[in-house]
């Protein structure tokens, strides 16, 4: 299994396990990576043989320490390149994911570490996601969903839980970027949408669906 492909499987398993700590099911990964379930079963067998995941037929898989290390390193590379693309090359946050998806597979430890230093050892990527350090440690960010904030409170936007370009572009249009000060003005009982003001300026309604995908603290 080429390292490129291996890294994509391990990263997908890592992310799925973050959502559901049982682990990752065949279908989860098939959907994430746009391959068929049968293909994933084969991949699971090989990753199991290599000691990168725990695999038992019909059970959700989880990462071994070794597998997790590969996944976390890949995430580190991905997020560092995303910072590079935004901070140095001026891309917008909705444009960078596909490029980082390729750059993350260039494997030279010295390159990664020098890139990190060049960027000032950032702790968060342009989407507010934490960048693990070279030992695999993530900065703790105890953010909560915007839907959990009470009326009257003001919070700072720290991240998002949906990375699709359409969601990101919509946030841009609303002036909602990382660091924005959001005040909860009201909650509509009928549909749970919320009335917010941003940086004490613009005021508008956000659907529950949107508010659920915004993290803050």
């Amino acid at each position: 299994m080429s390292s490129h492909i291996e890294e994509n499987y391990l990263k997908a398993i890592y992310k799925q396990t973050e959502r559901n700590k049982d682990g990752a099911y065949t279908n989860d990964i098939a959907n994430e990576l746009n391959v068929k379930a049968a293909t994933v079963t084969e991949a699971f067998k090989k990753l199991g043989d290599k000691g990168l995941i725990f695999y038992e037929k019909y059970k959700a898989v989880t990462l071994t320490d070794q597998g997790r290390a590969v996944a976390v390193k890949t995430i580190r590379k991905h997020r560092l390149w995303e910072v590079f693309l935004v901070e140095k090359l001026g891309f917008k946050w909705d444009e960078i994911h596909p490029m980082a998806e390729e750059l993350e597979h260039v494997n030279f430890e010295e390159l990664t570490e020098r890139l990190a230093k060049f960027l000032g050892n950032p702790e968060f990527d342009p989407h507010g996601d934490p960048i693990p350090d070279k030992n695999g440690k993530f900065a703790q960010n105890k953010s909560v969903k915007l839907t959990a904030i009470n009326i009257g409170k003001t919070v700072a936007m720290t991240g998002i839980e949906n990375h699709t370009p359409s969601f990101l572009q919509h946030l841009d249009k609303l002036g909602l970027k990382l660091g924005a000060e959001i005040t909860i003005k009201d909650v509509v009982e009928f549909d749970q949408s919320i009335l917010v003001s941003v940086n004490n300026k613009k005021e508008f309604y956000l659907s529950q669906e949107i508010a659920n995908n915004i993290l803050c603290k």
Copy 2:
């Protein structure tokens, strides 16, 4: 044929054709890419079918316009990343080739063009090799080999014809980097080695072998 592999073949054919305008022979490419001759024959057939090279059995192959465009774009990406690695990340010129060899295959036109701009649209890479512009045009650099310079003349070092780490490291040790002012003090009749001074300071002998791999103007 994955684009990654295709680009490596086309780049190798391009470079070989620069050396020998007949084109590239099966064995040339097999040696360059560390694969067997039979593998190259197969690749030639596929590249021929795709309209990227002109292939006739037992003849040297040459690039079509389309194939040349891919090769030149790959060279552009390679050399831009080399500039990045040296100028921004502080790598030395003997360390960068393997990393650029991977980075060159990340294919997003906008990324390449923004990288170029970020680097100040450089015309030469850290080895003095010209970087084609986005239309595939190379800056003309009419450099000549150091062995072609007469006694008494002073020239500026502009490039090299050998990119091995050991050669590059040796040049470093001698203080010979791009831009260095080299004065030809003497030519030894016995072995054609030359006595040079660098930046009017150090003076030493260079074997013909070495002098042949140094370009200047």
